[in-house]
Every structure is written in structure tokens, then in C-alpha cells.
């Protein structure tokens, strides 16, 4: 397992939910875990929404003080350097959507590459309108790599239709994720699904990662 895990992908692909769940999971086996919110694009649906849960679990959150303040300002705290400076912590990094969101990661790229103990995971959802085909999805993947200068090392299949997701929807997305993996030479690290779908999919999907959803609107 690498010390730093970075989650990037298309806007609205589910990065934040996965990053929060992943950090909480890591905390079960590691004493020091931090999660960093590197999103400078979206003023809503931030890692900070899960502050209470993360704090309770003993996961350190590094996030802009402007996150969730409604100040629509793309800013990052100096504390963010802990991603690469504090090598005693496992680090999970939640990156903003698309290439636009990934530019901010570029600042930390030299140190991440130098330490060379990272996993850069591409989160994809076949049911998002601009990434319904492997071809379109790989284009987004390449744009993100170009923006931040860090090549991806794995794929996370997070194909879902929100609350309406049925096990069949997840199964229907497996060839899509495999095709992306095959064309990019990467492997599908895991398929993330809403926790209640796990029983129906066990044995049918190689590596399942159960998600507790972060936020519910009306």
C-alpha cells in the first residue's frame, strides 16, 4: 500500500465520497491518517461536509478555511504541504473535478513524484453524461494527467445512478471499466458501491468497496 492516495476524475464522478470513505477505512489499520481537500473548483459538496465524522474517527482534515463558508474563493491553506512533508501519515487527497480541478495538484507534483510512494486513482462513472463511453472517459483521464503532471496508476469504477442504483447497473458497468483499464494499461483497483448493494454484488464483482454516502439533499 502506498503512503499517498490521490483521487481525481470527472466532475461529479464521486471523488469526495470515495476519498472520505477511503480515509475512514485506512484509519482502521493506521494510526495517522490525513485527508486533504484540494478542490478549488466547487464551492459545494466538500470533504468538510464530513468534518464531524472524520474528527470522531481521528482522521485529520486539511481543507481551505473558506470551504463551506460560501465564500466562493479558490484558496488552499499552507497546511496543505503536510501531504508530502508529513511522511509519518497516510494521506488521502481529494482533487477537484476535471483538468480544471487538477491544476491545483500541480503545485505538489514535484514532491509527490520525488517521494514516489503514491497511488493516483481515476474515479469514473459510466452514468455521467460526458463519460458514458470509454473513449470520452479516457479523454478526461488524459486531460487530468496533463493538468497536474502525475500519471494515473489505477482505476476506480464508481458507476452509479445515485439512490436509484440497482445491482444490474453496477454489473452493466464492468465491461466499461475493463475497457478503460485495457486501453490505458491500468488495472481496476476496486468498484465502489453503496454499502447496501454489497450483498447482491458479492462474488460478481472482483473487489468491492462499500460506500456510506456523505450527503443527502431534498
Amino acid at each position: 500500500m502506498k503512503r499517498v492516495t490521490l483521487f481525481a476524475g470527472h466532475y461529479g464522478s464521486g471523488k469526495t465520497n470515495i476519498a472520505v470513505n477511503y480515509a475512514l477505512k485506512l484509519r482502521e489499520t493506521h494510526e495517522r491518517v490525513l485527508i486533504a481537500d484540494l478542490d478549488i473548483v466547487n464551492p459545494y459538496f466538500r470533504t468538510k461536509d464530513s468534518l464531524d465524522e472524520l474528527t470522531r474517527a481521528g482522521v485529520r482534515l486539511i481543507s481551505s478555511e473558506y470551504a463551506n463558508s460560501n465564500v466562493d474563493l479558490p484558496a488552499l491553506p499552507t497546511e496543505m504541504y503536510a501531504i508530502t512533508d508529513d511522511t509519518s501519515s497516510m494521506a488521502v487527497v481529494d482533487i477537484g473535478g476535471d483538468d480544471r480541478g487538477a491544476y491545483a495538484l500541480g503545485r505538489y507534483q514535484p514532491a509527490i513524484l520525488e517521494e514516489n510512494d503514491y497511488d493516483m486513482l481515476f474515479v469514473c462513472n459510466m452514468y455521467r453524461p460526458l463519460t458514458t463511453t470509454p473513449e470520452d472517459t479516457i479523454q478526461v483521464l488524459r486531460e487530468i494527467e496533463a493538468a497536474c503532471g502525475i500519471p494515473f496508476t489505477g482505476i476506480v469504477n464508481n458507476s452509479n445512478l445515485g439512490e436509484q442504483t440497482a445491482p444490474e447497473d453496477v454489473l452493466a458497468s464492468l465491461p466499461y471499466a475493463d475497457q478503460i483499464a485495457w486501453e490505458t494499461g491500468l488495472s481496476v483497483r476496486f468498484t465502489s458501491v453503496r454499502a447496501d448493494l454489497v450483498p447482491a454484488l458479492t462474488g460478481k464483482v472482483e473487489t468491492l468497496f462499500p460506500l456510506t454516502l456523505q450527503k443527502k439533499y431534498y
Binding site: F45, Y127, L130, T132, L161, G162, Y217, Y218
Partner: protein, 353 residues
């Protein structure tokens, strides 16, 4: 043919617009509707359309006037403060009788306000928006699916009546993600003999202008426009009724407030209170007839709004004040909870007994 995808409300508007033939988008970014522009920026170049980020909202709406004059389907989108900037253009478009789609994903105001959801532009939208006597057709979606379907409807109505259609949504509707079934958008070609689309040396020039210096003629234009509005009121009013058949208390709510209120009405029924809801889908024309009909059997109305009480005036007008109308609201970017609405229903129910 329909496919199911997971979309943000803002994205659903953009994709639906493209599917019904809109190839021209002019706008200026503002939270919470920026995804519309971002989506258009990605999609338009791939389908031979035009996405243009203008230098300002004022520029964007004037580009819309130009494209609409040429007879193509065109849209712009913004959020509350940006719509105020565009309102001069909205008035000019009414004066020119130009069809276009304008989207307002409202945020809390007045002034720059905040970036959280609001419905406080109800007056501005339903009373025209800019100066002069005019109306826009105003549609209020209450789901991501409706963000898509009402966008298509808005374009059709705009072309049919040569009017500006407005989607009046709010930050929640724009940002929330829900599964959507997108239809393959049927583009019905509509003849626009009035458009400045080239004479082909076969006809006189079409002149599109809102300047009219002869008062007798300007009066005639205004009268004619209001005759058209009468037809819109008669034929295009849309609303949803929920548990209204035997209702004692009629909740009136649109958009996000209607989603909240539906849960409250259901909870009230479980508590033995006969509550129902009218959800206006067109805010202009306002569904006056069902509200008036409700006044015959309901003891009172509750208008649930994310503003200081704007639609409640239309509820009172439509019901001719035959029954009391009470306001249940949150403002400034706050959303009423189902519990708050239920409390109001209980309070009114107790008071009237």
C-alpha cells in the same frame, strides 16, 4: 429512445437545450449555475455549436438578442444578480417579440447576496423582469428530470408565441444530482418568417427593433402583445395537484419548496389532517383556476417560499382572498424543512377548528 444518466440540474438544462436544437449559448459565469456554461463549453465545439463566454452579462444578453433575431434557438443562463444585469435586454427582447431561453438559478439576495438557494426573484420573473409592460413564460422545475423536460418545453413555447421563456430554478435544483431519462429531443422546425435571416432577394427586409416612436402604433403593439398573453394564459398554464380532492388546507409551493412540502403534506395526512398541495409549474401564467377552485373547499392556504412572501400575493389574487393565506418561509439561502411546513399546517389547522 431514452437513456438514464446521473446529472446535476444545471447539466440537465444544458444537455436538454442541445437536444432540442439549441446551438448558441452566450453567458457569463456565476455560482450556482456555472455548470451550465461549463457543460456548454465542453459540448458545443463537438457538435458545431457556439459557446461564448461574454465579457459581461449585458454583452451576453445582447448576443442572445442578435442570435434570436436571426431565428436560431439560443439561450443564456445566470443567477440572480446576473439576471438583474440582463433585465434591460429582457425588456428589449419583449419589445422585439424575440423567442429565447433565459435560465435563472436563483441565489439569496438582494444585492450580491450569497451562493445558497433562494426563490426571491419570483416578482422579478413573473412581473416581466425589466421595464415596460410585458411578460415572460416562467417555468419552475422541481426535479432534475424536470430541469430537462421543461427546458425543451420552454424552447417550444418561446418559438410558438415569440416570447422569452425563463426557467426559474434555485441553487438546490441546479446543484443536486438525480438520475434523468433523456429523450432524443425531437426538434420541430418552426417557420420564422419574421427573422432577419437573409432576404434571398425575395422579400422585404425584416427589421427587428424595440423602438417605436409613434404612440398610436406603440399602443397597438402593446394591445396585440397582451392578446397573445391571453392565449398563453388560456392554453399553457401548468400545475400539479397532490391530494387536493378532499383537502382542508392547501399548500402552494414550487421548485425545491414543493419537494419539501410534499413530505409535509404526507406527514400531515398521517397525522389525520387533510392537507393537499398545488404545485405551480408555470409561475407565469400562474395557475389561478385550481387555486380559486381550492378556495371553495379549503379552509386556508399556506404559501411555502424561499423568500419574504412573493407568490403568496398571487395566491391571494387567485383565491380573491376568499380564504386566509399564510406564509411559511426561510430566506437568505436557507430551505424550509418538512418539519417546519408540517408545524405550520398543524398550527393553521388548530387555529381554524
Amino acid at each position: 429512445m431514452a437513456e438514464k444518466v446521473l446529472m446535476k440540474g444545471n447539466e440537465a438544462i444544458a444537455e436538454a437545450a442541445i437536444r432540442c436544437g439549441c446551438r448558441h449559448y452566450f453567458g457569463y459565469p456565476i455560482t450556482p449555475q456555472t455548470e451550465i456554461a461549463a457543460y456548454m463549453a465542453k459540448r458545443m465545439p463537438k457538435i458545431g455549436g457556439t459557446f461564448l463566454q461574454a465579457e459581461s452579462e449585458v454583452a451576453a444578453i445582447n448576443m442572445v438578442i442578435g442570435a434570436a433575431s436571426a431565428g436560431v434557438r439560443v439561450m443564456t443562463s445566470s443567477s440572480s444578480p446576473g439576471i438583474s444585469l440582463k433585465s434591460e435586454g429582457l425588456s428589449y427582447m419583449a419589445g422585439c417579440d424575440l423567442p429565447a431561453l433565459v435560465v435563472n438559478v436563483q441565489r439569496g439576495g438582494p444585492g450580491l447576496g450569497g451562493i445558497q438557494p433562494s426563490q426571491s426573484d419570483y416578482f422579478q420573473a413573473t412581473r416581466g423582469g425589466g421595464h415596460g409592460d410585458y411578460h415572460m413564460i416562467v417555468l419552475a422545475p422541481a426535479s432534475v428530470q424536470e430541469m430537462a423536460s421543461l427546458t425543451a418545453k420552454a424552447f417550444d413555447l418561446a418559438d410558438k408565441y415569440r416570447m422569452t421563456s425563463m426557467i426559474l430554478a434555485d441553487g438546490t435544483m441546479g446543484q443536486m444530482m438525480e438520475p434523468v431519462e433523456l429523450s432524443e429531443g425531437e426538434v420541430k422546425p418552426i417557420e420564422k418568417p419574421w427573422a432577419a435571416s437573409g432576404t434571398q432577394m425575395a422579400r422585404e427586409h425584416n427589421i427587428i427593433n424595440s423602438l417605436s416612436l409613434v404612440p398610436e402604433e406603440l399602443e397597438k403593439l402593446n394591445f396585440a402583445r397582451y392578446e397573445k398573453y391571453k392565449a398563453v394564459v388560456e392554453n399553457e398554464t401548468m400545475y400539479e395537484e397532490y391530494m387536493m380532492d378532499d383537502a382542508d388546507i392547501c399548500v402552494v409551493a414550487f421548485g425545491i419548496a414543493a419537494r419539501v412540502s410534499k413530505n409535509a403534506v404526507l406527514a400531515a395526512r398521517e397525522a389525520g389532517i387533510r392537507a393537499g398541495m398545488i404545485r405551480p409549474i408555470t409561475l407565469w401564467p400562474f395557475p389561478a383556476a385550481p387555486v380559486k377552485a381550492a378556495a371553495a373547499h379549503c379552509k386556508s392556504f399556506i404559501s411555502v417560499e424561499l423568500n419574504m412572501g412573493q407568490m403568496i400575493e398571487d395566491v391571494r389574487l387567485a383565491s380573491e382572498c376568499a380564504r386566509p393565506a399564510y406564509l411559511c418561509n426561510r430566506v437568505g439561502g436557507m430551505i424550509p424543512s418538512p418539519e417546519q411546513v408540517l408545524e405550520k399546517i398543524k398550527e393553521i389547522n388548530g387555529g381554524v377548528q
